[in-house]
């Protein structure tokens, strides 16, 4: 073992935040799959942020219906890159703005679901006993509803609005997250460092949030990506079923539904929204897979 050092060794400085971030990014590079996924997700995020700058038209203004991709708008001379829909709105612009929708509601809903699920899961896994019984029962009951049955009922009863959809997603996702966090907590609470914290007299809150939760972040981050993908699909499907956000605001699923009847003649109206959704979810799934590979290797 190393011999004792002199007392006058100068203290090294902590690595700066930039260096640590660069290292994290470099870590991601180890998984090509993850890189591709991250790239797709970032591209969509950028598109959503820069929507007003990059979208050629206003998504809701009806200009010229039934235009095929590549057609030119006679008045402004701009190209309808992906064509227009049956009432004349530019599809590309609608897709970009639709992405905004998804990338705002999705992450918010997922984040809130995580907040709820994490608290429930930590409590159930750490305290066990009554806490666990009740929380697990409650989450089992919610989970026993097939997810879309739940959505259909909630939304048809309470109406379709952004808030309702987010609440419905939180309600449906939190139990699943709780299960995962509970499993991780049950495993981690047996570690010696948790026992060390307990024998120090640390409060349960400290132990749950400082000792246990940070060490569960690996599987949770992977799950978060997957879940965000699933939530994206859910938002799209709800739109498709007519239970999404009310028109005319663009909604990928809604776009497919509205123009479905015209598909034989004008397939572009539904193909591009489908591609949009699939690509975003693909990106999230690949990113999740890449992160999982990396965390296993760690």
């Amino acid at each position: 073992m190393a011999a004792s050092t002199e007392a006058a060794v100068p203290l090294p400085r902590r690595q700066s935040g930039m260096v640590r971030f660069a290292k994290a990014v470099a870590l991601l590079r180890e998984s090509p799959v993850g890189m591709v996924g991250a790239g797709i997700v970032i591209a969509w995020a950028l598109a959503a942020i820069l929507a007003p700058l990059i979208s050629p038209f206003d998504p809701n203004s009806t200009i010229l219906p039934f235009q095929k991709p590549g057609a030119i708008d006679p008045t402004t001379g701009k190209v309808f890159w992906l064509g227009t829909d049956k009432i004349g709105r530019d599809i590309l612009s609608r897709i970009i703005y639709g992405g905004r929708r998804v990338l705002i509601y999705g992450p918010i809903a997922t984040f809130c679901a995580y907040a709820v699920g994490i608290v429930m899961g930590l409590a159930a896994g750490y305290f066990r006993g009554w806490w666990d019984s009740i929380l697990s029962r409650v989450s089992d009951i919610v989970l026993s509803f097939p997810i879309f049955v739940l959505y259909v009922i909630v939304i048809s009863t309470f109406g379709a609005s952004g808030l309702n959809i987010v609440l419905a997603i939180i309600f449906a996702s939190a139990p699943g997250i709780m299960r995962i966090v509970r499993g991780l907590t049950l495993d981690l609470r047996n570690r010696d460092y948790v026992a060390a914290a307990q024998t120090r007299g640390e409060s349960p809150f400290y132990i749950m949030f400082v000792e246990i939760l940070p060490n569960a972040r690996g599987p949770l981050i992977v799950d978060a990506c997957l879940r965000l993908g699933y939530v994206t699909i859910t938002i799209g499907t709800l739109g498709f079923l007519g239970l999404g956000l009310p028109p005319p605001d663009p909604d990928w699923g809604g776009m497919v539904n509205e123009n479905r009847a015209l598909a034989p003649a004008f397939p572009h109206m539904i193909v591009y929204p489908c591609l949009a959704i699939s690509s975003l979810v693909l990106g999230l799934n690949l990113l999740a897979d890449g992160l999982r590979e990396i965390s296993i290797r760690d």
């Binding site: 190393a2 004792s4 050092t5 026992a195 024998t199």
Partner: protein
């Protein structure tokens, strides 16, 4: 090829194995040579990373997708097996070369019955009928001393105990009468008394079946008991080979000598002969030095002689049997010079009792909610984890609590620390009664005054926090300091105390080795100036040379601060070395307690006697009587009425042991034994350990008379 009796079963020449990773080629084993003849048993000894398991896997040709033999040859019965096809390999494995593994539970398929797994061997390799396969398997189970063979054949692995599982693995390996048996740390995962039975079985195998054996271990004592020859490995190379007698008494490599200096021997005492740790650290495979691998840690290193050229194995001249060493300077080193600084410590006088445990009981309730139980009124069963414990510990004393799994030592630690509360009885710590106060209700100073060092170095630190962060938290929580600069200062001084470099403050646990993590654990425990520290098997999971360092560190700190140390362990050699007093527990009860000398010499409690006999001793000048216990540890849920040990006791008197709790015999002020056998009879028993004369014949009290119980089943 004719199976010449003189052809060695295994002949490894200049073997080089490397792993191919993203970082490039990493040499795992370099220039390795080994020869094993039929009926011979060779021990392969070394610490983690030395390559001993890699060699075994190479013999089996199972190196994984990223490992490969890059040089040399392995000949099995004269045939080169380094280039066999997959099908030829498959035929060889299990029938001619068989392996026994470290963790028997993991090595058996949980979804197949034992019978099915055993029968596969003759069915695949010899094409016999199912009936014959069944009969042979059953016969083999009896040969390895497993009682009730039919039941075991139909059972699943989780339904039998660890020792029985290992016997099954051994049976499975022997079924097709292999010529070579590879044993990879076969007893590391087993309890001490169970280990003794398995070791005895392994030693018999060579005679009964004439197999050649390669016994891989990190424990020199075990190797001495089972092997004829030994090969010591360090960092991928063999550094010394020879017969047990030669290498153990006339070692010719500084590493071998360092290993012996780092293990506690029965003749050793912490004050007269402190353990000497090997300085420095094991090099990582891709950072091996040029020249002698051991050079950076060797006090005899001489530039030019010991490096930078590679060192080869050379014969030690003048020995009747082959003895080789990879030391370039073995002729020049004075092998009789004492190791280390020859430091002698003053024994410390213990002070007032710091901890007094009186009649402490901890029962867990087990609710049996089956209908049958509720009808018969036995809905609640008790797990008697601790049953009437009474002992005390004084200031600056080291008290060891010894026992195997299920003896209740962890439960006791939990009650002490406040993670559980006692069911009955009292525990007085520094004058306060703490048996019913949970840790959250205890005053801060009391919590800081009673801390713990944990067993598993990989789990003892929070992986997400820096070392400095974790220690600071403890300091602040205990209110030792609150000013950030003073806290920082104190952390640094604690790091100095455990001999870690100060820049470890910013490191995260995954950047530390096992020994370093354990040192941080020690620093953390001492952060609040505790009056008493409980060390729960603090070194069991560490390498031998690291164990010595951490053990010495713990003792040094204890001496300096006058802390009382409660040392929980199953390893009697370490306990003999460092404890002042010993408490022996079995199934929740104290069987014997006394000073170290008293416990290690007669009168013994029969359990203590068996426990002592099971300790592997690496000192060739000491031998021991063999006592092997039969049966398994009984379940803690249904402890036997009367004396808990009566189901396995070789000295059982009879009905009285089954019916009544044994009385506590008082041998001296400090020595107590709980047994029905009268004290005089116990005092007349011969000592377990005795010294042997130079030529190997016993010189001490009576020649080794084996006192076995009836046919050992465990």
């Amino acid at each position: 090829m004719p199976d010449d009796a003189r052809t060695p079963v295994l002949e490894i020449e200049n073997l080089c194995i490397s792993y191919f990773t993203r970082a490039g080629e990493i040499p795992a084993v370099v220039d390795f040579n080994l020869t094993v003849h039929a009926g011979e048993s060779v021990g392969l000894v070394g610490e983690s990373g030395c390559g001993k398991s890699t060699v075994a896997m190479a013999i089996m040709r199972y190196l994984g997708s990223n490992g490969g033999i890059v040089g040399g040859s392995i000949k099995f019965k004269g045939r080169d097996i380094t280039h066999l096809s997959d099908e030829e390999l498959r035929k060889m494995r299990g029938s001619e070369v068989a392996m026994i593994y470290q963790e028997p539970m993991a090595a058996l398929n949980p979804s197949l019955t034992i019978g099915a797994q055993l029968m596969e061997v003759p069915l695949i390799h010899e094409g016999v009928s199912e009936q014959e396969a069944y009969d042979r398997s059953r016969q083999m189970l009896s040969d390895v001393n497993l009682p009730d063979a039919d039941r075991v054949m139909a059972a699943y692995p989780h339904q039998i105990s660890g020792g029985q599982q290992q016997r099954v693995v051994i049976a499975m390996a022997l079924l097709s009468k292999p010529a070579l048996l590879l044993l990879d740390e076969p007893t590391t995962a087993l309890d001490v008394t169970v280990e003794a039975g398995i070791i005895e079985l392994i030693a018999e195998i060579a005679q009964k079946f004439g197999t050649a054996q390669v016994f891989i271990s990190h424990n020199l004592g075990l190797v001495r008991e089972t092997c004829d020859r030994i090969c010591v490995m360090y960092s991928g190379e063999a550094v010394e080979t020879g017969t047990i007698g030669d290498v153990f008494t006339k070692m010719r490599h500084p590493y071998t000598r360092g290993l012996f200096g780092a293990i506690p021997l029965p003749s050793a005492n912490k004050n007269d002969r402190p353990l000497v740790a090997i300085p420095g650290q094991l090099p990582l495979p891709h950072q091996r030095p040029e020249g002698c691998n051991f050079g950076p840690r060797c006090e005899y290193f001489q530039d030019g002689v010991c490096g930078p050229q590679a060192i080869a194995m050379r014969d030690v001249p003048g020995e009747p049997r082959p003895h080789q060493s990879r030391c370039a300077r073995f002729e020049q080193i004075d092998w009789d010079a004492p190791l280390g600084a020859g430091q002698v410590n003053e024994p410390i006088e213990p002070g007032e009792p710091v901890l007094v445990v009186d009649g402490m009981r901890k029962y867990y309730e087990l609710y049996d909610r089956s209908v049958k139980a509720m009808l018969s009124g036995e809905g609640v069963k008790y797990v008697k984890a601790n049953e009437t414990l009474s002992f005390d510990a004084r200031k600056a004393e080291i008290v060891a609590i010894v026992g195997e799994s299920g003896c209740g030592k962890s439960t006791f630690a939990k009650v002490l620390m406040g993670l559980e509360t006692a069911t009955e009885g009292t525990i007085t710590f520094n004058g306060d009664e703490i048996e019913s106060t949970e840790v959250q209700q205890r005053p801060r100073e009391q919590v800081a005054s009673l801390q713990m060092v944990f067993q598993n170095p990989n789990d003892t630190l929070n992986p997400s926090m820096t070392v400095g962060g974790q220690i600071s938290r403890v300091i602040r929580k205990f209110g030792v300091e609150s000013d950030p600069d003073k806290v920082h200062d104190r952390v640094m001084r604690l790091l100095d105390m455990v001999k870690l470099p100060r820049d470890f403050y910013f490191r995260r646990p995954r950047q530390l080795s096992g020994g370093q993590k354990q040192r941080v654990g020690v620093a953390r425990a001492f952060a609040g100036n505790p009056a008493m520290v409980i060390a729960d098997e603090p070194v069991s999971a560490l390498d031998v040379s690291v164990q010595a360092a951490v053990t010495e560190l713990l003792m040094e700190i204890q001496r300096e601060h006058g802390t009382t140390l409660l040392f929980i362990s199953h390893d009697l050699s370490v306990v003999r070395y460092l404890a002042d007093r010993i408490v022996v527990m079995y199934l929740g009860q104290i069987m014997e307690q006394g000073t170290t000398e008293e416990v290690f010499s007669p009168p013994y409690h029969p359990y203590t006697e068996a426990l002592l006999s099971a300790v592997p001793i690496a000192d060739t000048s000491v031998d021991k009587r063999k006592i092997v216990l039969e049966g398994n540890l009984p379940s803690v849920v249904n402890p036997p009425v009367g004396c808990p040990f009566h189901t396995r006791c070789p000295r059982k008197l009879g009905a009285i042991c089954e019916a009544e709790r044994p009385p506590v015999l008082v041998d001296s002020d400090t020595h107590r034994i709980a047994c029905h056998i009268p004290l005089e009879s116990l005092q007349a028993v011969e000592p377990v350990f005795f010294s042997v004369a130079e030529n190997g014949s016993p010189a001490g009290p009576a020649a080794g008379s084996a006192t076995t119980g009836s046919a050992a089943g465990e």
